[in-house]
Symmetry: none
Subunit: 223 residues, 4 copies
């Protein structure tokens, strides 16, 4: 009943799990817990997620939970570590974005991949959002993820703009802000449009607004 198909988690697991050799069964149990955590996160959000919910979904016990994770936060850290990796990888694929059609397509494609990632890891990213208000670790990890993308973006944006008035760092964060939050609205059903349409519009806005792209009516199969 999980809402989205899930890619394989490359996860290294929580603290206790790293001190031991995990055999096949152990790995399986850990996976079950991580998957369950995603499901619960999705359904309840970070703060409302209870260890009890997680072990119930994973069909295992409290005791077992602590065999693999030092505590609740440890589990979310593990989940977030995965996201961080993926996001970092994604950030690296961001090439220069020119003002022309090619630039548009490049940006559109990158945003598409970002979107996939968000949809996949949505619950974790939302959890991060929720958690970061507090001073805890999870929050800090989230900031690192943010930094990764922002850094890549700043580079691309700086290349595309020479205005002395336009602050690339702000523009980069504005970009992340926009796409992150929009997806958030999407997943939380506050915005209800097809993902493709969302991406088209966002790409246009950012291409034109941030990367100096030229606005043009785009031909669409007359629908």
């Amino acid at each position: 009943m999980a809402a989205t198909p899930r890619r394989k988690l490359s996860t290294r697991g929580g603290a206790p799990a790293q001190e031991r050799e995990l055999r096949a069964q152990g790995k399986k149990t850990m996976r079950k817990l991580l998957d369950a955590a995603m499901t619960v996160l999705e359904k309840r959000g970070y703060h409302a997620a209870r260890v009890d919910d997680i072990v119930k979904v994973a069909r295992t016990s409290h005791g077992t939970f602590y065999l693999y994770f030092a505590n609740k936060e440890d589990l979310f850290r593990a989940l977030l570590a995965d996201v961080a990796d993926e996001v970092a990888a994604l950030a690296e694929t961001l090439g220069p974005i020119g003002p022309d059609e090619a630039g548009y397509r490049e940006l559109r494609s990158w945003l598409g991949r970002f979107s996939d990632l968000y949809v996949h890891y949505g619950p974790v990213i939302r959890a991060w959002t929720e958690a970061e208000v507090e001073g805890d670790d999870v929050g800090r990890m989230g900031e690192q993820v943010l930094t990764t993308v922002v850094t890549a973006l700043i580079e691309s944006i700086t290349e595309a703009n020479d205005s002395d008035d336009f602050d690339p760092q702000v523009a980069a964060m504005a970009t992340v802000a926009m796409i992150e939050r929009l997806h958030y609205y999407l997943l939380s059903r506050q915005l209800d449009v097809p993902r493709e349409d969302l991406l088209d519009t966002v790409t246009t806005v950012l291409h034109v607004g941030v990367f100096g792209g030229t606005r043009r009516k785009r031909r669409r199969s007359a629908s």
Copy 2:
């Protein structure tokens, strides 16, 4: 120690307070509680905010708290109601945004006011963000606030764009997403730039990207 100067709260208070006639002292106490809640919200966020923290800051007792608010949520509802009013008022002031310099200035000014409002009510808005994940009332009130601004924006955006490809609703939400989240980054110190700079850049991005404005090097007193 409250981080930001505070405007007068027009608040009507929580459920229990509405059933009684409040005398001068009562009103003062209610105000103290609302202010205290802002402070705590700012420091701890919604979920970590304890009634105990609030009454400590307000230098009053637990019992007193429940004389004015039915529970924690009730208090936040009262706070959010204020925000909702202010946001609605702000939304109404959004006129047409043309592609020229005047449009830029109009947008810049509006965003400036939005920014003031966000800075003022930041803690409440962040609390809303945290809360909306759950199914509770506070979350739903937040959505209404969102809707108010989005509706106003859609109108302005539609006037400024005739592209059949560009979805004004998405663009409107993208706009809110960007400015909301950027301020969030600002307040949570994940972004550290002067507010003026932030506003300049955001205005440019949105004016050009969303309202069809023309990009131009803007003359700035050589700083």
Copy 3:
């Protein structure tokens, strides 16, 4: 909205009220509080009765309450004192109950008056029932009330029975038990019959069972 018309309360009031001279207005306020207490007792029962409810019904304030009564219990004590007086008076009117028709009528009449009293003071008597489980004063006062009636009954019963096997004290308490609880069922709607029917049957049972009366088909105006 009080369920039953109320006789005048002869009440002397609570401790604080007895230390002062009550003027007309003071007496009126005290009366309002006592009446309100009856109403609340009826609606909520002893344990669920809140001072707040009482002062709301009496349209006065918490502060005022404690001007007349030392505490909640004090008020119930005052109410119960009234009942005690009435019950004592009633107990005195119990004459000998013979086994014949006259005895039946005498008993029927006495039970009728008891019933009136119960209906009138029902809330207080039920409160006593609720309260007596605990060790508090109210409970003890209730016992005295019980003792008064039982003593009177023992006398009548002893006159009517010479069996060495039949314990008049038990029979007396059994009598009270039956009529008290039956009225309780009646007021709490667990029993739904006209009061007259209830009294007829109870009188028969007790007359025959306790007072040695002879059972006979009684002629009733063919209704």
Copy 4:
């Protein structure tokens, strides 16, 4: 220090306990809690009974309590369910009560069993009495228990009486009222006689008064 020897509880437990498989230890703990509740009920009554008292007597923790019962009421419901079962079973054993010596013995025996049951479950039954004033569930369950016995009694009473004046329903409730309340007086020490004497007298009163039995001096081993 429990006042009465206790039969085995067949209890199914509260809501949370029913959702899980209880192992031996779990069952033991649940039993401890139920027993403790009886003890506390006896000592303090329903309203004054604190979860804290119960867990202290059961020598366990607050958390554990809520592992087995959703709340205090849930526990009492469980207890009351047991009583309900036993009472229903008892009600079924009530055969016809004739006016002769055999009828007397039959009634005496049934009342004896009722008495045993009451003494055993006294605390629970008293708790029910206390609780029923309020609108809660426990109260309603109590009414069902009452109905069970009353129904059985009505049948027996109707067989034994043909009077058109005598209402069997009232007589049935009067019967229950008498024996319930008398035992209540007994347990709350407002009445202090040997149980056997109490039963003898009550049997006589009811046999003669309700079941048309003939009064006779009963020969008792000259004591």
